[in-house]
């Protein structure tokens, strides 16, 4: 099954240091996933170190969203291992909750709760999951709203905000849980072009603070600027990965070349 060994590429941390377990944020080993009979993810090996910023690119249907959705168990994998923060994901609900508390996720369509105000969206999980007192949760929510530069919208409802503002709220909502890892599932794909920038700015500032991030996106400018590593997926498998500079300037695999030529024009 493991015809391709990835040990060489993943056993070393980006800085070339030797790896200790505490430095590993996510470890995916020989993972496979099927939708019914359709083999969506094949033989995925991926090790993400703390503070690492990874961009996953690939044509639609290549399984990149499915991969990051497996990491917080929105999708179930059938074979192989996924270890997040030292917790292996199994059917055990306790472990799943443990992992989800530490992993934030930002969705393509924001998925804010439309019946709650922005502030309530942000405080919901801290209050009900972490048991943070309401006043404290609200202070924290306001802090993160300021970080994403929309504190004045706190009392509005999601439906009253623009797409870019909603996505920034969604990021703030995840941050309120003080996650160790952030997953971004095409966060700018549903946005009008003029709003992409405001969301990317927030993501860049997060990256600069050393947040561990995995980001599925087509924003290659963002990849160049902040990623430590770019991963190219096709047909449910990791085809190629490299540092951004090398990845864009010198793609190796035929499929990567084809993909890059299509999206970079």
């Amino acid at each position: 099954m493991n015809q391709v060994s990835q040990t060489e590429s993943t056993s070393a941390a980006p800085g070339g240091m030797t790896v200790s377990d505490t430095d590993v944020a996510i470890d995916v080993v020989g993972m496979h996933k099927w939708y019914g009979d359709f083999h969506v993810l094949r033989d995925i090996d991926l090790r993400v170190m703390r503070g690492e910023r990874i961009v996953i690119a690939g044509p639609s249907g290549s399984g990149k969203s499915t991969l990051i959705r497996c990491i917080n168990r929105l999708e179930e994998h059938q074979q192989g291992q996924i270890i997040v923060n030292g917790t292996e994901l199994t059917n055990d609900l306790k472990r799943i909750d443990e992992v989800r508390r530490e992993v934030g996720m930002v969705f393509q369509h924001f998925n804010l709760f439309p019946h709650l105000t922005i502030l309530q969206n942000l405080t919901l999980a801290p209050i009900w999951v972490r048991g943070v007192p309401k006043a404290e949760a609200e202070d924290m929510a306001m802090h993160y709203l300021e970080r994403v530069k929309i504190p004045e919208q706190a009392m509005k409802f999601p439906g009253q905000l623009s797409g870019g503002q909603q996505q920034r709220v969604a990021i703030a909502r995840s941050l309120c849980m003080q996650p160790k890892i952030m997953l971004f599932d095409e966060p700018t794909s549903a946005l009008d072009p003029e709003m992409v920038k405001e969301v990317l700015e927030v993501m860049i500032s997060l990256a600069q603070e050393g947040m561990t991030m995995i980001c599925v996106t087509h924003e290659m400018g963002f990849a160049r600027q902040v990623a430590n590593r770019v991963i190219f997926m096709d047909q449910g498998q990791i085809i190629e990965q490299n540092e951004p500079e090398a990845f864009f300037s010198n793609p190796q695999h035929e499929r990567t070349k084809l993909f890059l030529s299509q999206i970079l024009h």
Binding site: Q6, E8, I238, N242, A246, H253
Partner: protein, 378 residues
């Protein structure tokens, strides 16, 4: 050191591990996913074991391992203890359930009407078949007129058959078809009136629609059967079936108006404006631009309305008309076929007939809905 990696050969597509596919995987996922699921599944299976054999035994004849008396059986067989459904009784009174008291020698007349209806309605409902306009004209205008003279007689040497003798499924179909056919034009006018900005017309339409939608059909039928004769000039009598038809039509058109209004509101404003900018008059705009689109979108709604109407026609039995339900109810006191299962068998038969019609129509409505949705997206 480098993090670079390039896959040299592609991983082939494999079939999923057995526990996630095939029958076992299916059962694990759909029946035994959690302990609670397993408990529910076990309860469900026990329920099936408890419920299915008696039901099967009641419905299916002895030749299929049940206890029911097949058509052609005798009343004595139906009176045996633990006998199932008495289908022999249904077979014996079948003509009554279909034609009511219509003279046997004239059965060919309703039969022709049934055949004509079927021949006209199938191509009308089939989206791919062309000539919808002429087809609709035949079904909605020519067919009712021809059917009326054929059934009622009194012309071309046909023996007159007064409506008191009509009955059974025939009357159920007549009432629901007349109800829907008459209510479509009235409902459209009411819907347009409700959307109009002429205050008097709007108010009248709103009052009409809301009044009939507010009251139960049974009171409408009482009103039609008791008050209609009072409203007519002295000496003028109104046929009992016609009274029920008036009641059903008033009721149905109010509901249809609301369905059509939904279609009118769903149309983008641009359509109204485009019509106006072409310089068309109000009626031309409505008939050539707005209504064709609006009506197309509400076909599923109209069909659903028709399903309700079809079920509601059973209420005419309360004002003494022999529709399908009333013939079954009347026959259940037929002493010749008296048996413990007589009434139940009759209700099962009627339920089955109603169910077949309604279920088929609801599937059709779903089919049109999907078709319209995909058409819309493109």
């Amino acid at each position: 050191m480098s993090i670079a990696f390039v896959r040299t050969d592609m991983a082939p597509s494999q079939s999923p591990p057995t526990r996630s596919s095939g029958l076992v995987g299916w059962a694990r996922k759909n029946l035994f996913a959690t302990p609670v699921d397993t408990i529910f599944t076990i309860i469900g299976v026990l329920f099936l074991i408890w419920a299915v054999p008696p039901i099967y035994g009641f419905i299916f004849p002895t030749s299929l391992g049940g206890n029911a008396v097949a058509p052609g059986g005798t009343v004595e067989q139906c009176r045996v203890e633990n006998a199932g459904a008495c289908w022999a009784y249904i077979a014996a009174r079948f003509n009554f359930f279909i034609y009511g008291f219509y003279p046997i020698s004239e059965y060919w007349r309703p039969n022709i009407v049934f055949a004509m209806g079927a021949v006209l309605i199938v191509p009308l409902l089939w989206p791919a078949i062309p000539y919808k306009g002429i087809n609709a004209l035949l079904f909605f205008v020519v067919f009712p007129v021809v059917s009326f003279y054929l059934l009622n007689g009194g012309v071309f040497g046909l023996k007159p058959v007064p409506t008191e003798q009509w009955g059974g499924l025939m009357v159920t179909l007549i009432i629901s078809l007349v109800g829907i056919i008459c209510s479509i034009p009235i409902g459209i006018l009411l819907a347009l009136g409700r959307q109009s900005d002429l205050p008097i017309i709007k108010t009248l339409c709103v009052m009409f629609i809301e009044l009939w939608r507010a009251v139960p059909l049974i009171t409408v039928l009482f009103m039609a059967s008791i008050m209609l004769p009072l409203f007519m000039p002295q000496g003028m009598t109104v046929d009992k079936l016609l009274r029920a038809l008036v009641g059903v039509t008033l009721f149905a058109s109010a509901y249809l108006a609301e369905v059509v209004r939904g279609g009118l509101q769903a149309l983008p404003r641009g359509q109204y404006e485009a019509g106006a900018s072409l310089g068309l008059s109000y009626w031309k705009r409505m008939f050539f631009i707005i209504l064709p689109q609006a009506l197309k979108h509400v076909i599923p709604g109209i069909v659903n309305n028709f399903i309700s109407l079809f079920k509601d026609t059973s209420l005419v039995s309360i004002v003494g008309i022999f529709d399908l339900l009333n013939t079954v109810q009347a026959a259940s006191s037929d002493i010749d076929w008296a048996s413990p299962t007589q009434a139940v068998t009759g209700y099962l038969f009627a339920a089955f007939v109603f169910w077949i019609f309604c279920f088929a129509m609801s599937r059709y409505s779903l089919f049109m809905e999907r078709r319209l949705n995909t058409g819309h997206k493109r």
